[in-house]
Structures are given as structure tokens and as C-alpha cells.
């Protein structure tokens, strides 16, 4: 019966890539709302337009976010999806699950919702796709009982996410999963109760490959790095070469700083680590031969966001190196984060992301407010215009320096 009525969606059951229509039909078998949803989407396909309205505010007790309200604009015709809210469930760090956790999520969602999910949302949450207002609290209760909590939505901290890091990757420069778990737990209040000018996203990648795309997608990017030297196993290098790796064209030529040289005789490479910018390329091409350094930590970048309003920003370096100490609960990071939030909260306009605020106010002000030291690593290059500010403290420092000099000069004379 349903088949007949949805010729357009049926087209999307064809083809080799797993079909979302097929997934929906699986749910539709037990969930009438999903059948209705399919019909509604079919109509969207016919009319080339969406049939959802702006969401109203719905939620669960004690929280200001975690649920996205959604209403159909044709409630009479499609009553089963007149309300079709989503619930954002905070994923475990690195999206690691076991079958038990998966099943418990499924059970809750079978009971309270459409049975459709997004594994995962673009921010990282496990998205439970479609339920009604009366179910929200119960669903949350059951989730909580099963050990799950909600993620962020609205003007708050959004659900942090992290790459698999030390669990599955030899490049990880710190414990991405632990940090993600720690930050998420420490800032539960910021996550659940919107009270900021706008959203704030944190993404955590264990090395410069940035497998969570944090520089593009997070207000704060935490990206692993090291400050000593790449560890080289010369025997393994020779094996790659013997195995046919064209080392010049595949490695040396792509090194952005051209800081690797190769000794053809010895089949050894030599890395000028002082000039290496830790781009990962050589390591990624020869993972058996090269390893990230030993003195590890992370680079912090701030300001990344998508295109609305000022156009997209990529996060920029605000701290070239920070040690991420599990032992002291990542205190340095937390202190900084709280200073950043405080300044942002005090100064931002409604719906102004941190990057936009810094653009408006200037990095100088931001650095002062957060006690960060200006370093050249923060910029591609220094300013090209001569439009810089002088503050009373600059003149005071100047005067002091001058007087110090005078004193020295004076004492010389009196000798």
C-alpha cells in the first residue's frame, strides 16, 4: 500500500548505497508516524519544498536545551508528525559503544519515539529523530536511567566531541577521549542551561590531521602536537624505500617546509626538526618509520565557525602549546576556557560567536582579557596597516624604561 503512494522516494531505494528510505520503511513497519513521515517527505519531493515549521521551545525539566522542537506545517493532513521533535543524546567520547549501550538506546527510542536516529549529528550527538511533546520527559527519564544524558542546543556549550585518539590511533598526542569526557562532565551546567550570547563548540583532535575537523567546526579546537622531534626508525625508512616508495615525490616534495633530506646511499632521512611545522605528512606516508615526538601536548585554536553571519572563520592559534595534564584535571585549560567565556559573555551581542567578537573588538583586547601572551605563532604575518592602538600602560612602561635609563646614566655621572 505505502509503496504505491511514494514513487519518488521509491526511486531512492534503488542503487548500491544504503538507502535512508529503506531505513525509514523498517521503522514504518511498527511506527505509523514514520509512515506518515514518508508520505510527507514524498510530498516535499513532489513540491520541492520543506513542510516543517520553525520549532517552538520544548524540553525537559531542568534543562534549557537538548531538544529541537519541530512542527509540521500541514498538521491536519499529517497528524502523526504534527509534532516531531528531536532529542540530542550526548555520545560517549570518540563514539565508542558496546552492543549493550546501543540496544539500550534502541529500547528507549522504541518506547518513546519514531525509531529513527542519526548516528550521529554533525556536532556529534546521537540524534533521536522524531517524537511528541508528551514523550519528552519520559524519554529523558529512561535515557537517564540507561546512563545517557542530553547534549547541547541553543545558546550554550555544545556537545564536545573527540577523535578516537589513543584508543585506536598511534598519532594521538594526548588522551582525547579522557579530555572530552572530562570537559563534558565539568561543564554540564554550561551544556544544559543556555545562558550565553550564542553557541560555543569544542572539538578535540589528537594530532594535526584533525580528524574531527575542529578548525572548521569548533569555536575552540584542541589539537594534539609535540615540541621536540619526530622519532625516526631508519631501518623502517629503508624498508619503505626498498618496498618501492618514491620517497622524493611522495614525501620530500610535499613537505611544506622542505625540512627533510634523504641520503640515498644510507637510505636514511634527516629531519630538521626546528623547521618542521608538524604537518604530519611524512608520518602519515610512513607510519611504520616515523612517530610523533615525545614532548606532547596540544595547540589551542579559537574562533572557528560556519558561514553565518560574518562569513566562515577558521579557528586561529591562541596558544601554540599547552600541556594537557590528566593529573591536575586539565586545570590550565579550564582556567583559560573560563576566562574566554567570561569575556565573551560580557562583551558579545546576541548571536555573536566568540570569533566574531574578537574580529569586532580586536585580538589585542581579547588577549589582554584572557592573560594570553601575544606570540607570532598567532598570525600568518603581522599586520600590514599602521592602525594600531596605544594604551596608557604602554606610555607608563615607556616612561619607566626611560627613567630606569636615566638613573643608570645619573649614577654613572655621580661616580
Amino acid at each position: 500500500m505505502t509503496e504505491k503512494k511514494r514513487p519518488l522516494l521509491d526511486e531512492l531505494k534503488k542503487g548500491k548505497w544504503p538507502s535512508f528510505v529503506t531505513e525509514m520503511e523498517k521503522s514504518a513497519a511498527t511506527k505509523p508516524a514514520v509512515n506518515t513521515l514518508l508520505n510527507l517527505v514524498e510530498r516535499s519531493f513532489e513540491e520541492k519544498r520543506v513542510h516543517w515549521k520553525h520549532g517552538g521551545i520544548v524540553g525537559v525539566r531542568g534543562y534549557g536545551g537538548g531538544v529541537i522542537g519541530r512542527y509540521c506545517d500541514l498538521p491536519e493532513e499529517y497528524p502523526e508528525v504534527a509534532e516531531f521533535h528531536t532529542i540530542r543524546v550526548n555520545q560517549p567520547s570518540g563514539w565508542f559503544y558496546d552492543s549493550k549501550a546501543i540496544r539500550s538506546l534502541c529500547d528507549v527510542w522504541e518506547k518513546h519515539g519514531s525509531g529513527l536516529t542519526n548516528m550521529h549529528g554533525a556536532t556529534g550527538d546521537a540524534i533521536l529523530l522524531g517524537t511528541t511533546t508528551p514523550h519528552l520527559q519520559d524519554c529523558f527519564n529512561d535515557l537517564s536511567d540507561a546512563g545517557f544524558d542530553l547534549g547541547g542546543s541553543g545558546s550554550n556549550l555544545r556537545t564536545p566531541s573527540a577523535c578516537c585518539g589513543p584508543a585506536r590511533c598511534e598519532y594521538a598526542c594526548f588522551d582525547t577521549l579522557d579530555l572530552c569526557h572530562h570537559v563534558t562532565n565539568k561543564y554540564q551546567n554550561e551544556l544544559h542551561r543556555p545562558m550565553w550570547p550564542y553557541k560555543f563548540k569544542i572539538k578535540i583532535s589528537g594530532c594535526p590531521n584533525d580528524c574531527t575537523s575542529s578548525i572548521a567546526r569548533a569555536d575552540l579546537s584542541i589539537i594534539g602536537t609535540w615540541r621536540d622531534r619526530i622519532r625516526v626508525n631508519q631501518k623502517a625508512v629503508a624498508e619503505y624505500v626498498d618496498g618501492g616508495l618514491p620517497i622524493k615525490s611522495a614525501v620530500l616534495d610535499y613537505c611544506p617546509t622542505k625540512c627533510i633530506s634523504f641520503d640515498k646511499e644510507k637510505k636514511e632521512i634527516n629531519i630538521d626538526n626546528e623547521n618542521c611545522t608538524r604537518c604530519m605528512h611524512c608520518i602519515s606516508v610512513m607510519p611504520k618509520a616515523l612517530r610523533v615526538g615525545k614532548e606532547k601536548g596540544a595547540t589551542l585554536l579559537l574562533g572557528g565557525k560556519a558561514t553565518i553571519v560574518q562569513s566562515a572563520f577558521l579557528g586561529w592559534v591562541i596558544k601554540p602549546f599547552i600541556k594537557l595534564d590528566k593529573e591536575d584535571g586539565y586545570q590550565e585549560l579550564h582556567d583559560l576556557l573560563e576566562k574566554i567565556w567570561e569575556w565573551w559573555d560580557e562583551n558579545a551581542k546576541v548571536r555573536e560567536r566568540i570569533g566574531e567578537l574578537i574580529y569586532r573588538k580586536g585580538m589585542g583586547e581579547f588577549l589582554k582579557a584572557t592573560d594570553l601572551e601575544p606570540v607570532p605563532q598567532m598570525v600568518h604575518h603581522p599586520r600590514a596597516n599602521p592602525y594600531f592602538f596605544w594604551y596608557p600602560e604602554d606610555f607608563a612602561a615607556e616612561k619607566e624604561a626611560k627613567e630606569a635609563k636615566k638613573e643608570v646614566a645619573g649614577s654613572e655621572v655621580s661616580e
Binding site: 528510505v21 516543517w52 520553525h54 546501543i102 554533525a122 590531521n209 560556519a306
Partner: protein, 361 residues
């Protein structure tokens, strides 16, 4: 009240540690290197010599609980119950025992779940809600993605592209997929200014917020109607005012569609992160299979496969040959729309006589 019970709040997510298989716990932070076993299968080797196999499965992201439960079953069968999802929404099965890999792959493939997407392959297509759930969508997400992935399926299954290929989509300019740094990005776009429903604005929206929301200052208060007016010359259809105020509907089935951007990336590898750049300003919405979109993307992929050097991601290839050559090779028209006219436009203008001639331009 129907519901007298309120659950504990602020418990946070489940602890990941409890989700990890033993081999990971044993080698946590002590992995030595990894190898590609075959497309879709990775082997990580620990300092102890322990091995961890990962089998990556393509996912449409929109999954029913039926499927999730089946994945759980598979995980139980082959992986002591362990699985994860990737930052691009693939499913990964994790096993310590390499001998089970082939059987696992076979069972997944037999059920229609493609194993692949590792190494120099096409990755899963990051995307957003579209007509399935969002009020803001200028195009559908799941439908376009399915059509494109069906067409490019083979590239997901093989590991022989010049480099990784990351295609992403977002259904409106909010860009929830954060697609703006992808090798190829397609984005739902509007082309007409919002229709102002004065009554709705007056009764449902905060005028100062609405005015402030417009990146180009196109919105002025209209005190008479207690509403706003939109300056047609300044509006570039971003829809941000609509995000703030539902009574400024920007949807227009006739004129909504898709724009394509290419050459972005995020990794700090070789070249730092880069935005994707506009190459095709508009492709109409053509449900159910968006044929023009599919063809356009295939062409974009194929010219790269044909012309890039080994190791060059999309944008690195273009950087080497120059954008003028790219437009020539891609046989795409270059229009006023391609030239930036927003805040940071000036640094994008070519301030040098260094360029290549094309078509005697």
C-alpha cells in the same frame, strides 16, 4: 501531571572507557603503527605487538533502530560487542582477531552494507537534515546524498584515488555540515528575498534582533507596520533573518536549489586548512535523483582523478594548476557570482600580473 518522576540530570555521557574492547584497553595510547589491509579494513599494531582490526562500513547516517540492533548483533558475533562510529558517520567494527575479518566483511556486504571508505578513497558524505526534519532546508539532504553516493559508489570501495576525497552537503546556508572546508561541498541555496509577513513579524519577532541578523544590512525597521522591510539590492538570500524570525519565509520551490564549492580541506597536512570555493552557483532541485547535481559532481570528481598527481587533494591540485586553468579544464562558466563581494573580498582579488592565459583571455 502525567509524569511525576524526574530523572537525574547532569550525569553526562556514558564513560567511553567502559565501551572499549580489551585489546584497546591493553594498548591504549601505545599504538605503534597501522597498515591498510584492504579497502575498508585497517590494522593497528601496538607496541606489545597486539593487533586491532577495524572494518569500516558506509552508513546513510539515518538509521532505524532495527538496523542498529542488527549492528549490535554483528558486533556481538565478531567483536565481543564492540563498535564505534566515525566523525563522518561511518560504522566501525573493532576486532582483535584478524581471522574473523573476512567473514565479517562478507556478512556486512551480503546485507548491503558497503565496506570501504579508508585510505585514498571517497569518504562518507557528511550531510544534514533536509526535508526530513529541518524547517530551513533549501534542498533535501538524504535524497541528494543517496543519489550522489550511488553514483560514486565505486570510489568508496576502492583505495586508489589521488588522495582522500571528502564530499559534504548542507541543506541551507547555516551549513550544519560545516561543509565549507570540503574537497567538494554542495549547499542548498535560496535566490529570492524573504517574503515579509508583517502581521507575523509584528507579533512574533523582535525587530532589533531581526535587523541585526542581516549580514548586509538589508533589513530596515518598518515602524508603521511594526514590521521590517527588506532592501532587494542588498539581500543575498542567506536566510539568517528567517532563523531569527519565522515570518520572513525565504523558501521558494521554484528558485531554491544547490551551489557547489570545491577545493577545501581541514587537515593541517602539507597545506593548512582551506575554504572551499564556489564553482557552480546554481543547480535546480531535481528530486528524486537530482540528475544534474549527480552529473556535475561526477564531472568534478573525474577531472581531478584524471589530472591530479598522486597525493594531491582537490584544492592542492587546483592550487598547482591555478583557478583559471581549473575553470578551463572543468569547462565551467566563470561569472560575476564567482567574484567575492563580501567583507573579506579585497584580499581575494588578483593583485599581480601572474596568471595563466586561457581561451585567449
Amino acid at each position: 501531571m502525567a509524569n511525576p518522576y524526574y530523572a537525574k540530570t547532569d550525569i553526562g555521557p556514558p564513560n567511553f572507557w567502559n565501551m572499549l574492547p580489551q585489546v584497546i584497553k591493553d594498548n591504549y595510547g601505545n599504538w605503534l603503527y597501522h597498515e591498510k589491509v584492504k579497502p575498508g579494513v585497517l590494522k593497528h599494531v601496538g607496541e606489545t605487538g597486539d593487533e586491532l582490526y577495524t572494518v569500516r562500513v558506509g552508513s546513510p547516517r539515518l538509521l532505524s533502530i532495527e538496523t542498529l540492533r542488527w549492528f549490535a548483533d554483528i558486533a556481538d558475533k565478531y567483536c565481543d560487542g564492540h563498535l564505534r562510529f566515525t566523525s563522518r558517520h561511518n560504522v566501525e567494527f573493532l576486532l582483535a582477531d584478524g581471522t574473523k575479518v573476512d567473514a565479517l566483511v562478507d556478512e556486512l556486504e551480503a546485507a548491503g552494507w558497503p565496506v570501504g571508505g579508508t585510505g585514498r578513497s571517497l569518504k562518507n558524505l557528511i550531510h544534514t537534515q533536509g526535508w526530513i526534519h529541518c524547517h530551513s532546508a533549501a534542498t533535501d539532504a538524504s535524497g541528494t546524498v543517496k543519489a550522489v553516493m550511488d553514483d560514486l559508489y565505486d570510489y568508496f570501495k576502492k583505495d586508489d584515488l589521488p588522495a582522500k576525497l571528502k564530499i559534504s552537503m548542507a541543506c541551507c546556508l547555516n551549513m550544519c555540515g560545516a561543509v565549507h572546508c570540503s574537497d567538494i561541498a554542495f549547499v542548498g541555496v535560496h535566490r529570492k528575498i524573504p517574503k515579509v509577513d508583517d502581521y507575523g513579524v509584528a507579533n512574533g519577532c523582535e525587530i532589533p534582533n531581526v535587523v541585526a541578523s542581516c549580514p548586509t544590512g538589508a533589513i530596515r525597521p518598518n515602524p508603521k507596520a511594526k514590521s521590517v522591510t527588506i532592501n532587494e539590492e542588498k539581500c543575498m538570500y542567506c536566510g539568517n533573518c528567517y532563523s531569527v524570525c519565522p515570518s520572513l519565509s525565504i523558501m521558494d520551490p521554484e528558485n531554491d536549489g544547490i551551489a557547489i564549492f570545491v577545493g577545501g580541506k581541514v587537515s593541517n597536512t602539507r597545506k593548512g586548512p582551506e575554504f572551499s570555493k564556489l564553482v557552480i552557483p546554481f543547480i535546480p532541485n531535481e528530486p528524486p535523483r537530482w540528475d544534474s547535481l549527480v552529473v556535475a559532481i561526477r564531472n568534478l570528481v573525474e577531472i581531478w582523478v584524471k589530472n591530479a598527481k598522486q597525493g594531491e587533494r582537490y584544492g592542492e591540485w587546483i592550487e598547482r594548476i591555478g583557478w583559471e586553468k581549473f575553470f578551463e579544464v572543468a569547462n565551467l562558466p566563470f561569472t560575476d557570482k564567482h567574484i567575492d563581494d563580501f567583507t573579506f573580498s579585497v584580499p581575494t582579488f588578483r593583485s599581480t600580473t601572474q596568471f595563466k592565459f586561457t581561451d585567449k583571455k
